[in-house]
């Protein structure tokens, strides 16, 4: 949790255009400049179609930008990916049903070529970190949605990635489970010191977790505001009831409402979880551009 000044992720002038050629081109991202320091917890928040998931995938080199540079740990993003600097957590847990919980967590280590003893020890350690130490031999179908997502987090942390990329990891969970998972993620982040980039629809979630909240607008996707979250750490359930927390939630909400240029204020309001109640139904709408 020590935040250093050295940027671990550096984006400069990143654009992403989908389509082109014989298809109509869609500008998903335009002019993204962002520096993320080592050990930070940064949330990307914005309405559907603002390109926050696209941005996350560009950082993780799952897709390439149309323009601009992405430097991760001082190297291009594709080198960083091949050096296995990333851990990914998606909205769905993406566990392999033919593998036990333990073997799912071991998968990245197998691919990395780690020895069998190290794999076993590491999987056990990570599953204990997410408090699933008693479920090593279970199959994914025997776990609840929240537990499956904890396995996915354990798997993402298995080879100690420098950066954890999380794409609406709790979007499919009910609100109570989501709040519990938020506390869990904070605890893990504080223990491991990993840099986390976290895509979300939920303002309360973004404020509660983050060191900084990056607010984005849609069509084209741009960064409209970066809000420093100065809530003291360690944060816990009481944090959600402090005045400063409510002020910050309001600040993020207002930043989301304010459209860049103000020329299309009549458009539909941001499809964002303003009040903190479930955003489950909306999360599927993101699609390819999200």
């Amino acid at each position: 949790m020590t935040v250093s000044d050295k940027p671990v992720v550096q984006l400069q002038g990143v654009d992403k255009v989908f389509g082109g050629g014989d298809q109509p081109a869609t500008t998903a991202l335009e002019g993204i400049d962002l520096a993320i320091r080592s050990g930070e917890f940064v949330s990307l928040i914005g309405p559907s179609g603002c390109g926050k998931s696209t941005l996350l995938r560009i950082i993780g080199d799952l897709i390439s930008p149309s323009r601009g540079t992405v430097v991760v740990n001082g190297k291009p993003a594709d080198r960083a990916r091949r050096d296995r600097d990333y851990g990914m957590v998606f909205q769905a847990p993406v566990l392999f049903e033919w593998r036990t919980v333990e073997d799912n967590v071991k998968l990245p280590l197998e691919i990395q070529g780690a020895g069998s003893a190290k794999r076993t020890a590491r999987a056990k350690e990570m599953l204990e970190l997410v408090e699933l130490g008693d479920f090593l031999g279970h199959y994914p179908y025997q776990l609840s949605g929240g537990m499956q997502q904890r396995v996915a987090i354990a798997r993402a942390l298995a080879f100690e990635p420098a950066i954890l990329l999380m794409d609406e990891p709790f979007g499919a969970l009910d609100e109570m489970t989501r709040e519990r998972m938020n506390s869990e993620v904070l605890r893990i982040w504080e223990r491991t010191g990993t840099t986390v980039i976290f895509v979300t629809h939920s303002i309360p979630e973004a404020v509660f977790l983050s060191s900084r909240v990056v607010v984005m607008s849609a069509r084209p996707g741009r960064i409209t505001k970066v809000i420093d979250v100065d809530l003291p750490r360690p944060r816990n359930e009481d944090t959600r009831e402090t005045r400063r927390y409510f002020e910050l939630v309001t600040e993020v909400r207002e930043a989301l409402r304010r459209r860049r240029g103000g020329d299309n204020a009549d458009e539909a309001p941001p499809d964002t979880d303003i009040g903190g109640l479930g955003s489950v139904d909306r999360t599927m709408a993101e699609g390819a551009v999200g």
């Binding site: 799952l62 990916r81 990333y86 033919w98 998968l107 691919i111 179908y141």
Partner: protein, 286 residues
């Protein structure tokens, strides 16, 4: 005093855990009971109706007459049923093996190379549309009327398509997020194949195999209709029918059906052993 309490508690729990088993057993019985009643009732009704209506045996023999024919012609004679069923099963198993291997190989090629898919898929669909009977004289001509290989090829042709189509689907229909995950691990195409695509295709493969087990038997028997060694089920059916020994024909059909069911069950048992994790075996629809 405390020891007594402990033994009572352990007795209670033993009875509790034992109580689960009869309940499950009863559920199983309740599940299969209607089918068994219909089956047995049907046989009894058949037996009685044939007797009452005075239907002649060569049109519709009684179940007891079929059973008698089965017994009388079990081990030896012109219509020796057991060795015939065995020979037909060997043809079916051989055909299943050939067709499955060919289907899997082509599936891997079509899943890996788009060009292969474009070139092979239309041909496979077209070949699948040809009635299997049309191939029988050809196979007999190519591989020998008396050789079991000609029947194996008949079975293999029937088996090939469902295996190929299903395995291709299993290899290709992988969750996109799973591929993104593997990409984030910088996994090679070979690793993705071994660790994601092949396990993903396993349930598809076994679905095809269950279907193929039955198809292979059909293919072998149809092949035998067009000539073959005399002690195979298809020949027995043709020859006993032309000799008006319909009790033997029926006995051969019953034996063929029983062989098919056993074959199917063997595949199901293998499937359960290979994929204990799979949804279809847990009664869920995932």
């Amino acid at each position: 005093m405390s020891a007594t309490a402990g033994s009572i508690a352990s007795q209670g729990s033993a009875r509790g855990s034992g109580g689960g088993r009869p309940a499950r057993w009863a559920r199983t019985v309740r599940f299969y009971l209607p089918a068994v009643i219909v089956f047995v009732g049907g046989l009894v009704l058949w037996e009685l109706l044939v007797g009452v209506a005075n239907i002649r045996a060569f049109i519709f023999p009684k179940p007891t007459a079929i059973l008698a024919a089965l017994q009388a012609n079990w081990g030896q004679g012109t219509y020796a049923l057991a060795p015939s069923a065995q020979a037909t099963l060997v043809e079916a198993v051989g055909g299943l093996a050939i067709g499955t291997i060919a289907g899997v190989v082509v599936a891997f090629a079509t899943a890996r190379w788009v060009t292969a898919r474009a070139a092979l898929l239309p041909l496979a669909v077209a070949a699948n549309a040809i009635p299997i009977i049309a191939f029988a004289p050809l196979m007999n001509n190519w591989f020998g009327v008396l050789s079991p290989l000609s029947k194996m090829m008949m079975a293999a042709i029937l088996v090939f398509f469902p295996v190929m189509a299903n395995v291709t689907r299993g290899l290709v229909q992988v969750e996109p997020a799973a591929l993104e995950l593997m990409r984030s691990y910088a996994a090679t195409e070979w690793t993705v194949l071994r660790k994601v695509r092949i396990p993903n295709a396993l349930p598809f493969f076994f679905t095809a195999l269950r279907l193929a087990a039955t198809l292979s038997l059909i293919g072998a028997i149809v092949g035998e209709y067009f000539g073959g060694a005399s002690l195979v089920l298809g020949r027995i059916i043709v020859q006993s029918a032309s000799a008006l020994r319909f009790d033997v024909t029926w006995a051969a059909i019953v034996l063929g059906a029983a062989t098919g069911i056993v074959f199917y069950l063997v595949i199901v048992i293998i499937e359960r052993a290979v994929m204990p994790w799979h949804g279809s075996l847990r009664g869920s629809d995932s």
